[in-house]
């Protein structure tokens, strides 16, 4: 009886897992087969012919370029990492300040930062477009980075604030009586202790930037600054949609994010629950 219960439980888990993963699996399969086969009815789950045609096209091994995916990938990597580094640096300092210092209007500032997160990004697209066009940073990586930093800073502040709060304030006090300056105490004691949490916050910020579509679609205009999610739209023609190409570029997007998540999975979970108790 117990055995049956166990087996049926795992069967249910498997079923749910398949359901959740199905779109992802479909994308992976479709990236490696010809376009017509994707549209066949009934659906063809196991491709008759596997091909890496879309990838060779994207990364122009045969000299013909369908979509400049390599350039998009580079844009994505640069924009995401630079904006993450900046956002986590500012967020770390801000989070530390909120956790450790008392200053006038502290709660109000914190609240307004959180409210900034609540504004739907798309509602900012028009003002941003006009503003960026006027000051001439439309269609530049710099512009996108600026937007992503603004988007991620409140988030990283909120997360790191929680992590620093978890560390007893005596840690820094004892370090300071041990001969550290405030900065040394932060660097030698509090930062290493908050490390996993800050790492988790950084990964979140990175993934947010990596996946962002709405604002990038407004600010980026050409291959010069387009990121992968925007580049995907290159497969959308007036009368046809190259589904296989789209799936292929989606794979290019998913794989790094997936690898990153696997690497930091442990930290992510511990980091999130760690910060979660903050109350």
């Amino acid at each position: 009886m117990k055995q049956v219960k166990k087996i049926s439980f795992w069967l249910l888990v498997l079923l749910l897992l398949i359901l959740i993963c199905l779109p992802g699996i479909w994308i992976f399969i479709s990236a490696f087969r010809p376009n017509p086969e994707i549209l066949s009815k009934p659906a063809n789950w196991i491709p008759d012919r596997w091909t890496i045609y879309q990838f060779t096209q994207m990364f122009s091994i045969n000299g013909y370029v369908s979509v400049p995916a390599f350039k998009y990938l580079m844009n994505s990597v640069i924009i995401s990492s630079v904006s993450t580094v900046i956002a986590i640096t500012i967020g770390m300092m801000g989070g530390y300040a909120f956790a450790r210092f008392n200053f006038k209007g502290k709660n109000k500032i914190f609240l307004s930062l959180m409210l900034a997160r609540a504004v739907p990004g798309i509602s900012l697209s028009l003002p941003l477009f006009i503003l960026f066009a006027k000051i001439g940073i439309i269609n530049t990586s710099f512009g996108v980075i600026l937007v992503y930093v603004a988007m991620n800073v409140p988030f990283t502040i909120w997360l790191t604030d929680g992590f620093f709060r978890q560390i007893p304030k005596e840690m820094s006090e004892v370090a300071r009586t041990d001969g550290c300056t405030r900065l040394q105490a932060f660097w030698n004691v509090e930062l290493p202790l908050a490390g996993p949490g800050i790492g988790a916050a950084a990964i979140f910020a990175f993934l947010l930037s990596w996946n962002e579509y709405a604002l990038a679609s407004i600010i980026t205009r050409t291959v010069h600054s387009k990121t992968l999610p925007i580049g995907m739209m290159d497969y959308l023609d007036e009368f046809t949609i190259n589904w296989a190409g789209m799936c292929a570029i989606a794979v290019v997007m998913i794989v790094p994010a997936l690898i990153l998540t696997f690497i930091v999975q442990k930290h992510l979970v511990s980091g999130l629950t760690f910060g979660g108790v903050k109350g």
């Binding site: 005596e170 006090e173 004892v174 300071r176 009586t177 300056t181 030698n188 202790l193």
Partner: protein, 364 residues
């Protein structure tokens, strides 16, 4: 190796006064204990000496330098915290050597000093462990070791034993005392436990509501409390405090405790009380002696009372009874069973009675 001096030190949090106009000189090599109930300003005082709390008014000297504006790191004092505050990501060894590493001391010298500290505190086998792998007592030792390696001018202890269980606390108390004798430096020690204060201190400061109530050696504050607060705070069980009226009968003064009991006043104290109507009497429980064969003489006073409760503790039995409206505790040192309701004869040596003013509560 220096004297610590507090001059008119005041600390305010907004309108709330934590420490009021404190003056204090701690000579080199003294073990000074700050004791008082929660919120009396003792920890705040310690933290101001350490530099972790800003000073609202007054001056703090370490050696002959004013340190008001100095960072904690430049004051050369070491602090031991209640929750140990060991660096969790470092081993015992690294914890001990951390301050020296920051001060850029040579590796060889660091090793030597860490080894010394490890030996003093008996941590030889734990050098490579992380704090999470240590017991409470061991963590406490590491925390002290971390203070020792710096060779500071003064050690500051902030309730270092309150996180330990009773048995370990007694043991560590002895170790701290021994450590002080070995290291010969100034120690300022904060506690709310009067037993710790009595056993450790060269000098005790009793604080309340930001004020110093009394400064003195343990024996001094115990035998000559300057007011009712100190009298009841130091000593366990606390001193018995009784309100009484002063009555004059045939040129003799008596303290009328309740309707039936009149305690005579020693003639030597007539001058102190002759203008007063009311008084507060303080008697330590060991000075209320159950007596079978009473002593005779003008300094002895005997009375009979029914026992409400008796608590045998082994070496002594505590007897509870009522005097006036107050519950009184007496200590009996010859162990024998006492029944509730039994009437006993008690004797008080009037020389051991403390008298306090009924309004100012100060000792007369």
């Amino acid at each position: 190796m220096a004297e610590v001096k507090l001059k008119n030190i005041t600390k305010k949090y907004g309108d709330v006064v934590a420490v009021q106009n404190m003056n204090l000189t701690i000579p080199h090599n003294e073990f000074l204990v700050l004791v008082g109930p929660s919120g009396c300003g003792k920890s705040t005082t310690l933290r101001m000496i350490a530099g972790l709390e800003e000073i609202t008014g007054g001056e703090i000297f370490i050696g002959d330098q004013i340190v008001n504006e100095k960072d904690p790191k430049d004051r050369n004092v070491s602090m031991v915290f209640q929750n140990y505050a060991l660096y969790p990501h470092m081993t015992v060894e690294e914890n001990l050597g951390f301050s020296l590493k920051i001060a850029k001391v040579e590796t060889k010298e660091i090793e030597k000093r860490v080894t010394d500290a490890v030996q003093i505190l008996g941590l030889q086998d734990l050098k490579k462990r992380k704090p999470s792998q240590l017991s409470g007592g061991q963590r406490q030792r590491v925390a002290m070791g971390r203070a020792i390696v710096r060779r500071p001018d003064a050690f500051l202890f902030d309730e270092p034993l309150s996180n330990l269980d009773a048995k370990l606390r007694t043991q560590m108390r002895t170790e701290i005392k021994k450590l002080h004798q070995k290291l010969q430096t100034t120690i300022v020690y904060v506690t709310h436990d009067q037993v710790e204060a009595m056993t450790l201190a060269d000098r005790i400061i009793i604080m309340k509501d930001g004020y110093i109530e009394q400064i003195g050696s343990p024996i001094e504050v115990f035998s000559k409390p300057t007011n009712v607060f100190v009298a009841t705070f130091i000593g366990s069980p606390p001193m018995n405090i009784i309100d009484a009226d002063i009555i004059k009968i045939e040129n003799k003064f008596y303290f009328k405790i309740d309707n039936e009991l009149m305690m005579p006043c020693l003639e030597s104290k007539y001058d102190l009380i002759k203008d007063k109507k009311k008084i507060i009497i303080g008697i330590r429980s060991e000075d209320i002696v159950p007596q079978i064969s009473p002593n005779y003489g003008s300094e002895f006073w005997n009375f009979n009372k029914k026992i409400d409760l008796s608590e045998p503790l082994g070496t002594e039995t505590q007897l509870f009874f009522k005097l006036g409206a107050k519950e009184i505790i007496s200590r009996m040192y010859n162990p024998r069973a006492v029944n509730v309701g039994e009437k006993l004869s008690f004797e008080i040596n009037l020389n051991k009675v403390h008298l306090f003013d009924s309004i100012s509560q100060k000792a007369l």
